[in-house]
């Protein structure tokens, strides 16, 4: 293979003629982080609400939750990205649509990307959380209800604190998923990590170095996600439940 390996390419000037490739890649990491964090937080918040709707006794609330989940998890992410970016400005009132189109780089791409990943992530997290809620014994909800808590209070104080703990392992995969899905935003022109790697490859022809850097970037980000979630899992472990022994082992006391 005739390939000119050169790890020093990272300190060469990038296509903008001002910054090095290393710098543009790090900017990419920044946008990937910003996009994933925003989408992760929004998805967790709204995913919780949709999960509650999905498990609510009311037929109508349940129906609304189900329709939401089935729409947003059944459409390919790439198609959703195009819908938010190309179609949304056309269907909004003209002023709003024009404002969106005139926003320019990078917010004009960032906002549709956050919306897209959040709506999609909400549907996925809702399903994960629903599984957690439904794995609780029915008596827990009954006990809360019997002491006079309203249905919302039962969710807030009894159900959700337990459901979140149960779903931390699958939630870890979901958050890592959001980081990886964020690369789809390159298709609408957001220069996140994958987008910057591709730009570097196109301009410098150093495809292996560019994507090695991207790989390392994603590995590092998701490694942090895994460690953070592990910490949360141990920190919130309950006596006699999953994760308790690991927590005891670390703190050095007997269970």
């Amino acid at each position: 293979m005739n390939y000119d390996w050169s790890w020093t390419v990272f300190v060469d000037l990038s296509s903008n003629g001002v910054d090095t490739y290393l710098y543009t890649l790090l900017m990419g990491v920044g946008w990937t982080l910003a996009l994933s964090l925003s989408a992760g937080v929004i998805s967790l918040f709204f995913g919780s609400i949709v999960a509650v709707l999905r498990t609510a006794p009311s037929v109508w609330l349940h129906f609304i939750g189900t329709v939401y989940v089935e729409i947003f998890r059944n459409i390919p992410l790439l198609v959703q990205m195009f819908l938010w970016y190309f179609v949304l400005p056309e269907v909004l009132p003209k002023d709003w649509g024009d404002a969106l189109k005139q926003m320019g780089q990078p917010w004009g791409q960032f906002i549709p990307a956050v919306l897209c990943l959040s709506f999609y992530g909400t549907a996925r997290l809702a399903e994960t959380l629903r599984a957690g809620i439904q794995s609780l014994p029915r008596g827990q909800g009954q006990a809360g209800t019997a002491m006079g808590l309203t249905p919302l209070q039962v969710y807030r104080y009894v159900i959700m604190p337990q459901a979140y703990r149960i779903v931390i392992p699958p939630l870890t995969s979901e958050f890592m998923g959001i980081v990886k899905y964020s690369s789809v935003a390159l298709t609408i022109g957001l220069l996140e990590l994958t987008g910057q790697a591709r730009a570097m490859q196109e301009f410098s022809f150093h495809i292996f170095e560019a994507f090695s850097a991207a790989t390392a970037g994603y590995l590092a980000i998701n490694g942090c996600v895994v460690m953070a979630m592990h910490y949360l899992e141990r920190h919130f472990a309950l006596p006699g439940r999953i994760g308790w022994k690991a927590r005891m082992k670390l703190s050095g006391s007997a269970s």
Binding site: Q142, M147, G148, L238, P239
Partner: protein
Amino acid sequence: MIEFNNVSKWYGEFQVLDNCTTHVSKGEVVVVCGPSGSGKSTLIKTVNALEPFEKGTVWVNGISVGDAKTDLPKLRARAGMVFQHFELFPHLSVTENLCMGQIKVLKRNPEEAKAKAHALLDRVGLLAHKDKHPGMLSGGQQQRVAIARALSMDPMVMLFDEPTSALDPEMVNEVLDVMSDLAREGMTMMVVTHEMGFARRVADRVIFMDGGKIIEDCATSEFFDNADARSERTRLFLSKILQH
């Protein structure tokens, strides 16, 4: 204090409660017994509307449970319930379990709630465990915490749904003792249980149910000692349950 008038309930085609009519007076202890699936748990859960019913009325202290206008959370706050599987909240400490209802429902301030919680824990002999989580306690201890949690709301009636049937035999008595004390102090109680010794000692009245119907509803001594006046079904049940 509690009145059941012709209460009927169906799960689809299956009738779980069939025209149940009875009452519980203030300070009375009523044991509800019967074979599995006879509707006894369902009957006591109609009192705090955990189980809705299709026909009849249930009145608690002059409030109609089935009425759509009834403020159910408010009603439930006054009816303490103890479950077969304790249903303590595993993510909260014992003290927090006892404070939640007081703070969130009765709007007591946290200090007052905590003082009340500790007094009740002392009463059921568990003050030493106040900061533990439920998962660190034995079944009997958990059930005593659950009773204290129900009492923290100053209930006018206590409902017990098979409070000892998930316990190791050794731990049954510590729970029954707490319940006996409660009865002696004049608490109004409905107790679903198979503990016939407890029923004989503590109950004022015994209700026997089968197939969703109330078969017997009589004074405790009448129920246990006047076998000839009991129905065939009741005698069969008693002969099987009293042998051991």
